[in-house]
Structure formats: C-alpha cells, structure tokens
Symmetry: C2
Subunit: 325 residues, 2 copies
Amino acid sequence: MTVLILTSEQDVTADMVVAELNDADVPVVRLDPADLPGGVALSGEYVHGTFRGHLSAGGRLVSTSGLRSVWVRRPGVPAARVAEPSAWLTEESSQALYGMLHGTHARWMNRPDAARRARRKPWQLRLAQRSGLPVPATLITTFPQAAREFAERFPDLVVKPVSGTHPQEPPRAIPTTRVAPDADFTAVAFGPTLLQRRIAKLADIRLTAVGDRLLAARKPAVPDADDVDVRFAPPSGPWQPADVPPRIAAAVRAYLHQAELAYGAFDFVEDADGIWWFLECNQSGQFGFVELDTGQPIARTIAQWLARHGPGPESRPAGPVRVTP
Amino acid sequence: MTVLILTSEQDVTADMVVAELNDADVPVVRLDPADLPGGVALSGEYVHGTFRGHLSAGGRLVSTSGLRSVWVRRPGVPAARVAEPSAWLTEESSQALYGMLHGTHARWMNRPDAARRARRKPWQLRLAQRSGLPVPATLITTFPQAAREFAERFPDLVVKPVSGTHPQEPPRAIPTTRVAPDADFTAVAFGPTLLQRRIAKLADIRLTAVGDRLLAARKPAVPDADDVDVRFAPPSGPWQPADVPPRIAAAVRAYLHQAELAYGAFDFVEDADGIWWFLECNQSGQFGFVELDTGQPIARTIAQWLARHGPGPESRPAGPVRVTP
C-alpha cells in the first residue's frame, strides 16, 4: 500500500516526511499535478460497476486501489507545464486526477473540498466558537456604522484581511495592525473588513494537529504592544514545546472532526490569565520552523498518519451505498 | 423566516421560483454576490460565543438567523461590479459572504462545497456505480495504449470532455461525438480523454431531483445513430413526463444523499431493453425547458423545498459540537 504525495518539486517540508516514510519502508509516490499531462499520466476504467485506476509518475506505476493515503501538500496547478496551458486543460486535468482519487478508499490529509471550506475565516470563527474555543470579539462588516459601534464597545482593536490572503501579486503578507482610536471607518463600505478585539498577549501559541496527535509550541511575546503580528515582530527567542490544556485539546479535536480535517495548524495568543484565544486554523500551515525550534517530531507524526492502514475517522465513508429498491 | 436566493439579475428560472414563493407568502431576499460590496452589504459579529449576522440588498435587511434556506442559483462572482475589481477583493468578499452564510442553520440548495465536488465527472461515475445506477463502460486516460485496448474491447465509442466544460472562450458546447473505427489515439497523451461505450438509445431521459421528489421526462431519439448528443440533434418532439422505475428512484436518492445534494438534474439514455444508463448529474442543471414541455411543477417543488422549515436531511448538522473535556 502506497502513500501518494501531491506537491511541487521544491518542498523541503515534504522531503522531511518522505525521509520518515523511507525509513519506515513505506512505499511513496510523489508527484506534482502540474506535470499532468506529461511526466504524470493516469488512466481510470469504469466497467461493470467496478473501477480500476492507475497513476504513473517518474517511471513508477501505481494502482489507485493500492493507495493507503493522499497527502495534499503544495500541489501545482494541473496542466501548468504543458506547451500551451489553458484554463480548459487545467480543468480537464484537475477533474481527471482529483475526480479519480476521490473515487478511491484512500485517506486524505486533507480532502480538497474540506480544505477549501476550512479556509473561510468567518466559518472558522463560528466553528471555533461552537467547538468551545475562546474567540476574541470579532466583526466582519461593510457597514461603516457597525464598525463605529463595534469600536465604541471594544476600543482596542486590530484589523486584518478576511481571507488571510494578500492583495498584492506577487503575494505579500499584510501584518495584522492596530486600529487607531480616531479611525475613520467610511472605507469599510468598499470592502469587507475584519475587526477584532486585541488580546494583550504574553505569548503566541502554534498548535499543530495531526489526526488525534496535538503538538503545541509557545513563544513569549516581546513587550511592545504595537507588534501584534508574530510574523513581523522582532525575534523573541525560539519556539518552546508547550502542554495543551485538556479543554483546548478537546475543543481542537471537536473542531477538526467537524471540519473533516486530518491536519491543522492552529494559531492562538495566550493572555495574562493563561487563556488561549483562537485566531485561526490553517489547514495547510507550515510546521518545519516549529520542528526545527522545538524538536517535536511533527514530520514523523505525519508520516505515521499517512502510513496507517484502513480508513481514518477523518475520511468520508467510501464504501458502497446501500440501495433499498 | 426568509428564503435567500443567490443569482444574477437576469434569471427567468429564478423568477419562476420567486413567483411561487410570493404566491405562498414566503419572504424572499434575492441578491447577486457580484453586488457585494455596493448594492449588497453584510455584517457579522462574533461576540461571547454567539454570532449575529445581517445582509442588506435592495433596501431590505435580513438577519442570518432568520434564513430558512439558501438557493445558490446562478450567483455572480463576488465584487465583480466594484469600480476596481481585483482577485483579492473577490476572495475577501466571497469569504465574508459564504463564510458567514455557512455559519447559519439555513438549509442549502446546494451547499457550495458539495456542489463543487459533485461537478467532477469521474467522481460522478464512481458514485453512480456505487449507488446502483447502470453506467456505460468508460475510460478516462492519458495513455494512448489504454485507449487502443479499450477501443478493441468496446468498438462503438463516443468521446466527450472530462469536465463537461468547453475549451473555448466565450464558451461553446462540444457535442459528444462518435469515435471513428480507425481512430488514432496518440493525442490522448496531451490531455485526459473520456471514452464511453455508445448506448444505442431509444430515448433521452432527464430526471430532475428536488429533495426526495423525482420528476422524470422522456424524449424519443431520432433514429440516426450519429446524433448522439440531444443538444445538437434535430427536434424530435417535446419532452413527455415519464415514470421513474423504483430501482432507479432508490439509486438516485442514494446518489443525492451521498453527494449531499438537495437538487440534481440527471441525464440518462434509455436503451432497447428499457434500461436507463447514467450519463451525468448536473447539480445546477436547468429545468425550465422540461417544465415548459411537460407541465411538471418543478419550480413549485423547488419553492416548497426552500420554504420548508427546519434543517433538511441534505444539510450538514450545524448544531453545537459536543466537547468532552
């Protein structure tokens, strides 16, 4: 039984996991959907109620019935490397590849449709609330008046993009920034704006969830209230392993179960009372920097999850549908 | 409790359903996501573990907790009508709108993530097989040799796009076409190709599923074997209402349940033995032409589904997640 890894050629994070799988003698096929058609080829046959599929990459041929899991790491856009790329060929190739893989019994980290849904920030906030995670008071609005009233109730606010993505091409990260006390919210009408109560933080927390395994790391904050975004703050020492409070662990597992995710990188901030406030869950978040600082075996944990036999609790039941005529 | 319809301004199919909802005195808000931000505004507040959201369109304000259902008909691309459109603002607006709506208890026809998954043709074929629907022998491949061997086993083949979409901009439908007996399959290596055993058909069948209600229509085929695609065949008289065989009805319901769809337009062909062969299920297929020919009350059935109270069997459970600390 083979582990299939969908990612681009340059991906040291995937390299770490592949090394672990090699050490454990687990067969791996790694391919980039950008190479389909071309270096990657596929074939799937639907005859007499059964399905037989094959994938070929780098000279290796694997049967889709022999896949134990699929790791969607950083896959390229299907058909991106053909001589004459087109949106149409990308759609054809994407449907052929993912449509075929979805028909198998393989376990996913993460299923593309669950991953897509899980990227929506407002959905994350609501699910975090329902799962029992503390969420800082947040407003997403295009009503300037709603923004003004919110700022009156919560005078110490930060603003960040709704999607967590970046308006520039090539992408550039926008730091989360504090809202000035005399801010003019008129421009809110021109684009949905996310305002959030600023948590006076003692530390940033990164919790990496791999199946049921939770690995948390903590990094003390620099005592300068203006640096709210850890990515842009001055260095404050390395990440250190941290224990996960039992209530948080239960809530994180509930979140992942409801989101149908096998992997998630949760960002929290810790306040003076020791409360972990949920900021976001990135279903494809990097983990190499945490592993490097803390020595936590995240790559090995992912490899173990991928290597496990049988459908996981995270995967959608793929067996035959019972028909009662 | 209000029905929310997401669609473009010009949509006579939506008009038909709105008329039915008006007749039944069911409040309706209809909006085009392309008008957000602008004519459409929204606000969502996440405070103390609760969520309160509002949408405004055409001078009407509706609370998201007052939505009974959302019909995703033909929505425009979010932020498409702003002065300076950008991919970034589209993503921000899309996340704000759909992320917020996904946090509500409203029933969906259809949920966007389920709809997206359901568009993949190879996934459809596999699900149809598992649901117990007869599927003509099909091959999707980039291996010329696999195509040649398939053509030897099934000499009478048709070819069609994997995605069902069209390579041209503006889009142009590609008819499903017969494969010549001496076809050269070398080009298969340059793009995934779908080959399917041609069914010698007596009739085309369109089955429209609305929740548990199934409405089928039949149109006799013109006896000219080269016109395999009903969209391009010469007229052969109107669609006529047809009874759904019990086994097909059970299989279609199993398909919809597994696909988490509340609406689907199934295309079958009927052979000389009366067997309905599954071709595809379009989760946003048109129904106006069938209603016009057959007089079947499809618009009213959709209106009734949308007007129903309480979460439907098709909607994902949205209640609080149980956390055991």
